[in-house]
Assembly symmetry: C2
């Protein structure tokens, strides 16, 4: 059987590229990053007017490999292959799509695993705090290097949506449209609490060594596993889990209460173990803090309406009925603020049983909304070129 990379709607085999920033980057925390690299992939072709670029911003555990395959040995495509490709909602016949690994990540961009030029050793926990605003700044540098003055669309789910919102605020003239999916203008106390529990799980793993696990030839596997399990459960919905697992047993005898393992437990253990082998704990700390700290209204007298006052983008805001970490209500707050600020905003609430994870899934109505909206965006940016 042919490898799926050869299918007509696949972007095929893709190769990551590296952008090296030639200067130091001053961060919001006051620290200057002496140099940095961003690993990224592109799908589709940039048109002559350079007006058809789409930026994909990733969420907590995401990375640059959003679509296609790195080789025919890869069995799974990039994390958003359902949405990105020829004829797909983010249509690479129309758009030039850029997907990068964020600063502080652990998939190739400069982050805690990178060498700190000051010490010639990995940064580890000394990697500076990075916030959403810093990511946006670093993304503008990548855009500059690729000659992209204005993005046709900046798209992200969850933490990715926060980046799209920040783009619209910080760079109104460079954002034609911002697509905010399963997003919030700021986390709630409950959200922060779940993130903190995950961080505590990592920090209290004796193999964490206050973030210097690499120097100790160690890794906080158990802490990362717990963090992932917490994330996984809260990114699903009660109904979705009931449908998927119910109270099915993997082993044991419920009547005697002996050696019982429910399917859902076995599944979570597996997911946790896989994650703990691939994800960097310091990056996890950094990404969850960036989530917690995001609050663009803070600098505008706690008014989101004022925070978006200068935005010129058009907005699409999408949420999912069963998402309780980034609920429909949180998206509605964004929509209400954008309307109050007189912005061009469309929104869709998608019925789904799959919780926060819905934003990654091929839900027909969701893909239909994205497709319809982005098709119009493609027409708009083409019209501007003519």
């Amino acid at each position: 059987m042919a490898h799926p990379s050869s299918q007509a709607d696949s972007v095929g085999i893709v190769e990551p590229q590296v952008y090296q920033h030639p200067r130091a980057l001053p961060l919001q925390c006051g620290v200057e990053l002496p140099e940095y690299e961003l690993v990224y992939e592109t799908y589709g072709r940039l048109n002559e007017a350079k007006s058809n670029a789409v930026l994909i911003c990733h969420a907590l555990s995401g990375h640059h490999h959003a679509a296609g395959f790195h080789s025919e040995d890869e069995t799974k495509p990039g994390w958003w292959d359902t949405c990105i490709g020829p004829g797909k909602p983010i249509d690479t016949n129309k758009f030039f799509v850029i997907s990068l690994n964020n600063l502080g990540g652990c998939h190739g961009s400069t982050g805690p695993r990178s060498i700190n030029p000051a010490t010639s050793r990995p940064y580890g926990p000394d990697f500076p705090n990075v916030v959403v605003k810093d990511w946006v700044t670093s993304q503008t540098h990548l855009a500059d290097a690729l000659g992209i003055r204005k993005f046709a669309a900046i798209i992200g789910g969850s933490l990715g949506g926060m980046q799209a919102l920040q783009w619209s605020i910080d760079h109104p003239e460079r954002t034609h449209c911002a697509v905010l999916i399963a997003c919030a203008a700021k986390l709630s106390a409950q959200n922060i609490a779940f993130n903190e529990i995950a961080r505590q799980a990592i920090a209290s793993d004796p193999n964490f060594f206050a973030g210097r696990y690499e120097a100790e030839n160690s890794n906080p596997d158990k802490g990362l596993m717990l963090a992932r399990m917490i994330g996984h459960v809260t990114y699903l919905s009660d109904d979705g889990m009931r449908e998927k697992f119910g109270r099915e047993l993997k082993s044991g005898d419920l009547g005697r209460g002996a050696d019982v393992e429910f399917q859902v437990e076995s599944y979570l253990h597996h997911q946790g173990r896989v994650f703990s082998r691939s994800f960097d704990a310091n990056t996890y700390m950094l990404m969850t803090k960036a989530l917690d700290y995001f609050d663009p209204a803070r600098d505008a007298q706690d008014s989101l309406v004022r925070a978006v006052a200068d935005a010129r983008a058009k907005f699409l805001v999408v949420s999912f009925t069963s998402d309780w970490r980034f609920s429909v209500e949180r998206s509605k707050e964004i929509v209400d603020a954008l309307i109050a600020a007189g912005k061009n905003v469309a929104s869709a609430v998608i019925r789904s049983d799959h919780g926060h994870d819905s934003f990654l899934l091929p839900i027909e109505r969701y893909l239909g909304v994205l497709r319809a909206y982005l098709d119009r965006v493609a027409e708009e940016v083409n019209a501007q070129c003519r």
Copy 2:
């Protein structure tokens, strides 16, 4: 100022008592517990007909000290003092209230911290698995010893409600009424998942020593702290936490992303630390497993209607709008099954922002429902005596 134990609606200073079971107890898991003790408290007076006894069943982290004070040095009363006392909803002028620490607990009843007569050392992780049915059996022995043939009411929230339901099934002739608060007929996959994450947090603490921490002069403080934090967050609601904590900072500078601690984090750390000093980790494992395994319909072809077919109790089922661990929907399943089985059932859905923890709080309408229902129960059992 006078100590609150002297207030007219307090049961005052109370003293725990101990019931020693004179025989071995065969458990559902097939193991026989050679001997056991239950620590309990009573409030109010048993009438001559011994018809006014009320049994309070505790939840995951509860114990026998439900009302009053152990001494004037105690600043906080028992865990359900809002409900139990002279003139309160569970009125000790009318009822003789018994509250015990369950088998396997860590507050005085035989459990993992007790000496195993076979080894002359604490049971620790070798304490046998105990399920809800075993608790009910042990509670019948305590009732026998106190000369109570039939309880006027058996009342419990959460895991306590499960015990009340099991009583109505296993001992129809001994249960005049069962009050099930914030309860479920079985846990969902999501509930089990949260319990499993808490257990994993404890088990992966290197100070857990596979449950033999006492022999190692150690305690899995960090694991217990994490478990408690998970419990705490999930027993509250998103709205309740927003109201209580919002995004208030304890310290740090959000703009710079430096040294930030949110109030909600500080609160959870504190709660977790307090819990880890007082609660036994092996008991936590045992109690959460009893929660997971509870499923009375399982022995009745997965039909809750059949499971309760022989019950003769009248039922009151109470749930809270913001409780997402034991949701209104789960209570409705119980109510529907009881109705389908032709039982006498009343139910109330109480509006509250405080999640699962609502069942412990002095919510006016909730206390009013309990009071009205139990006043009628008092009349009924008095009428039977005449």
